[in-house]
Amino acid sequence: MSNPNLAGLQRGSVAVVGAAESDLGQMAAGTQPMDLMAQATMRALEDCGLTLKDVDGLFVAATQVRMGPMAFAEYLRIKPKYFDGTIIGGSSFMSHVAHAQAALQLGLCNVAVIAYGSTQRSVSRAAASPRDFNPFESPYRPFMPSTAYAMAAMRHMHQYGTTREQLAEVAVSARKWALLNPKAWEKEPLTIEQVLNARMVCYPLTVRDCCLVLDGGGAIVMVRADRAKSLKKKPVYVLGTGESLSHANISSMPDFTVSAAKESGAQAYAAAKMKPADMQMLSLYDAFTITPILFLEDLGFCPKGEGGRFVADGAIAPGGKLPVNTSGGGLSYCHPGMYGLLVMIEAIRQVRGECGQRQVKGCDVALAQGNGGVLSSECTVIFGSESTL
């Protein structure tokens, strides 16, 4: 099974050649989401030595810019030959990678930019990501998305004996990585006790079990493999992708302990002709501490139900058995609303060997797992260095 949505995609046919964040944190008053998108895009083009004139494929998703490709093309005053505004939450950008690969392979475009920006810290989450009214959920006043992830955590705890301490371990591990990343928002150490005793948001999740709410953006540049070699940086090849939609509203999630990453991961492994043990670093969307636990299970790093025990005792922290979320993740590095692009940028940098103090030694293969909505959309991308082709 390869990515069944895009069965013609060829392993390593395209590469990411440019990758950059915008400024991250709290922007100056009046900063617009597209200012951040543009900053990230120009930095990503600078990263590979291409210019705006080269860009003929545009992939945009943002909650504050509903018609992303149209608005961003206007901002840049470019006329992309190919564009895609697929918006399925934080995994949108992994989906864009698969779609960009298809467009590049078919010659529908030659230089694809995937971009994102958000000012959710400045304007508030409620203003940045207003939720659809749902007559079968809204009356109960769920605090979304936290309530949905809290209910998934509760079911996992009930079914498998996962503990709040194990959830907290995910946040503590992320913080240890963040302290090695100069771009991370959080600068102070964190203990399990501090996570457990922090302000409760939705039981069992405290504010330290929940991702940051920051302004920020990102962009990556993709070209076909033949062109990638002549650009500034070491190409990072797309070895495999997977995309899966499970539901939109949490009420319709079939099993709260199993995410669709099981399907997207299987697709990506098949396309990459690889298995979980081949992954040297994982970038797992950590909107909440329960999500990396579910993904470690669903992506095959431990049996179902063992995720909590797997992350205990620093297994995913610096020096642990499996490097996960080396940037510090959405929990401690940056989470600007739809975090998937930054999830991939860290995986790309690890394969490039650009991660300084937090660099995973000899990292040639990295898996990026995107998550959208309330465990609703799961998209996987496996990146590899030239040695993996």
């Binding site: 605090f143 309530t147 079911r155 302000r199 069992p204 009420s251």
Partner: protein, 129 residues
Amino acid sequence: MSSLLEKSPLGVFQAHLAKGELAYQVCLDDNKPFFYPRAYAPVTGSENIEWRVSKGLGTVYTTTAVHYKGEPPLNVAMIDLDEGFRMMSRVEDIDSMQVKIGMRVKFRVYPGNDKQAPYPVFTPVENAK
């Protein structure tokens, strides 16, 4: 579902609720219950749908307590109804942290107001009259 010009799935659901009934739908092509109410059955796409009234008994599938500032913790739970469908709701008459997975609960109507239509809530079976 004859015509959406005449009645909507949500409208039928709310009309049942006004009579104190929790209604759900079954697709007669595959005999599967589903919720939320729809004009066409999921998977089959069939219009061959029957409305039924639930006995209102169910089990808590999962639960949480939402901590809004300046309010007591608010229960939000997923309820598996005995007829085989799941819905979001709230378990009342009990501290939100005492709502447990596996707890048996019974439906009742939460009365609406001018801003909010009535909606279904649940109470622990031992409290139900």
